[in-house]
Symmetry: C2
Subunit: 346 residues, 2 copies
């Protein structure tokens, strides 16, 4: 017999931030947990993912995704354990991943959940290197960037969940990879632990373009952009012929109130025959199994490493999210909702 909890805790949006969110923009609520309907599954969260794109959801910038309204639970992926199931495809104790949001317990139809195999990799990776950030890195780099062996790839936010994977995948494809990250600890981590050829600490560089010229004597074939802003300005001034600019995220611009301004670089796009493209990782969902099949062996062989920053408890989710927007994390930012019996890291 298993007893479902009567109450749930969740983090809702209390006020719409203008600029960098503050903790007071969020509120922890206790609410009754509803009964399961037919086909539904009750999951106890173990790992919650906080992601930069949630800042965009709060601002309502995505035409294909509903804005998060005041009073609404923040959205995010969760890895958890099945507590009750009214979908015959899921059993008590199954470890699953789904978009359950910033709450302790979540209820979803079974169709919204994916069962994980804890033997394959630590289950937390379903939110990181084998989850949305990893898929973003894989398809953004390979499908939009189209790397060729010997080319130079520059990755911003190189110590983050997406950037760290994108750079390593580029190296696996024979590219020379230069990261950009903030602070000496991150820059060292990117080179020493992740194996990038070099990493520029932009906080220590008064002239980022000069640093890129130094580190990329043959210019940049692919700029994998996770930040936008002045980092984009510098990288796009130093692209090689047929250079590709992969617009993955613009964390430097999410908190801007107006339209962030910089050089348009249109002459460069014309004369250097450049291409810039945004993409949505969700479009690649049918190909996620292909990406995971490639990446699991890379992880096992130690060629694709990942790092996780863990904050403790649901109540820490807002500060983890704010820290993420400030670049305080190393690798994937997770919130531990409950002990993980399935991962070494738990």
């Amino acid at each position: 017999m298993n007893v479902a909890p009567e109450f749930n805790e969740r983090v809702v949006l209390a006020a719409r931030p203008d600029g960098l969110p503050r903790e007071s923009d969020f509120k922890l609520e206790t609410v009754p947990l509803p009964q399961l309907a037919a086909g539904e599954v009750l999951v106890r969260g173990i790992w919650l993912s906080v992601d930069p794109y949630v800042r965009g959801l709060i601002a309502g910038v995505y035409p294909h995704l509903k804005r998060i309204e005041i009073g609404e639970t923040l959205r995010g992926g969760v890895v958890g354990e099945v507590l009750q199931s009214r979908d015959p495809a899921f059993q008590l104790g199954d470890i699953v991943e789904g978009r359950l949001g910033w709450q302790r317990y979540g209820i979803l139809p079974g169709s919204g959940l994916r069962r994980l195999d804890p033997a394959l990799a630590p289950v937390s990776t379903a939110l990181g290197v084998l989850g949305m950030p990893g898929m973003t890195a894989y398809f953004g780099l390979l499908d939009i960037g189209e790397p060729q062996a010997g080319q130079t790839v520059v990755v911003s936010a190189a110590a983050g969940a997406v950037g760290s994977a994108a750079g390593q995948i580029a190296r696996i494809h024979g590219c020379r990879v230069v990261g950009i990250a903030g602070g000496p600890a991150k820059a060292r981590h990117v080179v020493d632990d992740l194996g990038f050829d070099a990493c520029i600490d932009y906080k220590a560089e008064p002239d980022l373009l000069a640093a890129l010229r130094r580190h990329c004597p043959d210019r940049i074939n692919i700029y994998f952009d996770n930040v936008g802003g002045m980092t984009w300005d510098a990288a796009t001034a130093w692209m090689a012929l047929d250079g590709r600019v992969v617009i993955c995220g613009s964390i430097a611009e999410y908190n801007a109130s107006g339209a962030p301004v910089g050089p348009r670089r249109l002459k460069e796009f014309e004369t250097w025959r450049m291409r810039m493209q945004g993409f949505r990782v969700g479009d690649y969902m049918p190909r996620y199994p292909e990406a995971r099949a490639a990446m699991v062996p890379w992880i096992a062989e130690g060629r694709l490493r990942y790092c996780e920053s863990v904050s403790e408890g649901l109540e820490s989710a807002p500060s983890a999210f704010i820290g993420l927007l400030q670049g305080r994390n190393l690798g994937k930012q997770l919130v531990r909702l409950a002990p993980d019996a399935h991962s070494a890291v738990g």
Copy 2:
């Protein structure tokens, strides 16, 4: 017997302009005309093309094209008549097109010339709708823009040589086409003579974005950009999902001394899955015959119209060029070097 002239006249760069060129940046020179070497052809120019990209050549922005140096003849395409030939493939009186530059007579190896068929179309079109501007419109729109019937295409500098062709080709492919041009006469011409669905006179619009929203209720699928600057700013704020921005030219930015600044639009590229791409028409040279084979019947059927602005005499080339950079031309800007016995317009 034919007697070759002893002297040539040419326009050379006298000073490197900063900003909009002035007439004093150019100099008309009289120089001896050399004898023909084996394989060479002497051509008397009839039509000279002045083009916006020459501003980029003067500034040296093209990595694949040599900068125009002080004292060097300005570059440009010419249609002319063969006066002497030491290449057996060319005969006295042949009408040819080649990159002979801003001069009265030009000498090139036969391999640098293309013989024209005056029966096919007025020979001046080899510099316009069937020449480099037409090829730019054709491949930029079809290869980079990838139009689909029913989509909305916005074309800036719509009354210019490239824009007028790009918009009409988009209409031939079933698109709804909105032009942007400067002044009521141009805007009327674009709709009444070229058949665009609408044309915005940007000089009469305090808010170009509002005008685009009004004229493009379903947003913009393809923005064919010939100007850059604030026109780019407005159009890229109103792109549809999967919108394509074709960077053909940036006439608003060629004369800028620093790096022109505007909104980066990176959030829009990310969330609307946009693509922006520069291209070089020269890459498509092997496919020019394919484009001309498609366009000649369109011209004959009256579906692809063109307009020429003609200035008289080699000495008028600098002012014609400056006027082009200021948008004073309608359609293709030509300089008449000698009477054209082969075209109605001559």
